[in-house]
Amino acid sequence: MQPFLEDVAVGQELPTVVKRPNLMQMVRWAGASENLHPVHYDPEVIKASGVPDALVHGRLKAAFVAEVVTSWMGEGGSLRKLSLRFLGMDFPRQEMVCRGRVTDKSESGVECEVWLENPRGEVTVRGTALVSLPRRTGP
């Protein structure tokens, strides 16, 4: 359903996007992004790095968070800006819940806070998104 600017309220939560990437999906992302850092898939490098498992790419998590906004904004909306900080590590086969909430609304667009939570209750990606939405009454 297409959201319209007039109908959006500050504090409104966006539908969540839940992801559970496995190693195959991470390797797919490595190929698509040409980010071949071995800490994302090579057991020897992972062990030598002192981390418990392969690290999910920060940019893959960023794409998951972006999807919260792009799947909500509809055909008539557009994502204008995305600002994200990577705050912690995530591992394959764990559920990542990506969320968003409207924090401001003006003629120029809708600002949302967006974040990703892991099963340990940590927020490992946090940021903001600026979205343009169509008006119900037309431009």
């Binding site: 992801k19 990437p21 999906q25 797919r28 992302w29 190929g31 698509a32 992004s33 040409e34 980010n35 071949l36 850092h37 071995p38 800490v39 994302h40 790095s49 920060g58 940019r59 893959l60 960023a62 794409a63 998951f64 972006a66 999807e67 792009t70 799947s71 055909e75 557009s78 994502l79 204008r80 800006k81 995305l82 600002s83 994200l84 900080r85 990577f86 990606v125 940021g127």
Partner: protein, 155 residues
């Protein structure tokens, strides 16, 4: 003895240096691979490509520049090169992507990148070099379709 600074004069000389241009032809298979890797099934993404495409464009894609210090080539290599001592690891600190115009299948995007700043600090992983990068993307008509900036952390 005071440890040697991570931000050597050689590295400092790379501040302001422009990398590229890199030319990227946006083709259907590339976008299909991206959507499969993120699991995004939004039917909107067909001729119009998802904003996540810009997230996949990281640094130099492993391309080395003989004119730059080895540590910069390593920092920009998306993990394809071995760390250059005294560095042992690399983190992506995040970024900001501003989408100015849609990118569509068939577009040819020319991307240039600049090392905007470098500074040394101390954090969880000890001494760190924070590298701030900026990137600009133009389509085949010369229109600016996106600008981005972010940080890399070398330690």
């Amino acid at each position: 003895m005071q440890p040697e600074s991570l931000l050597t004069e050689e590295l400092r000389s790379a501040i302001g240096v422009e990398l590229g241009p890199e030319e990227i032809a946006v083709e259907r298979r590339m976008v299909q691979r991206l959507l499969k890797s993120t699991g995004d099934t939004n039917p909107r993404w067909g001729e119009e490509v998802p904003p996540a495409l810009l997230l996949t464009w990281m640094m130099s894609g492993g391309k080395m520049s003989p004119h730059l210090p080895p540590a910069i080539n390593w920092l920009m290599s998306d993990g394809e090169l071995e760390p250059v001592p005294p560095f042992t690891g690399l983190l992506d600190g995040g970024g900001e992507w501003e989408f100015l115009a849609p990118i569509r299948l068939g577009d040819v995007i020319t991307s240039t990148m600049r090392i905007a700043d470098m500074r040394e600090t101390t954090g969880r992983v000890g001494r760190m070099l924070i590298v701030t990068w900026e990137r600009e993307h133009r389509n085949q008509r010369g229109e600016r379709v996106a600008v981005s900036q972010g940080t890399l952390i070398g330690y």
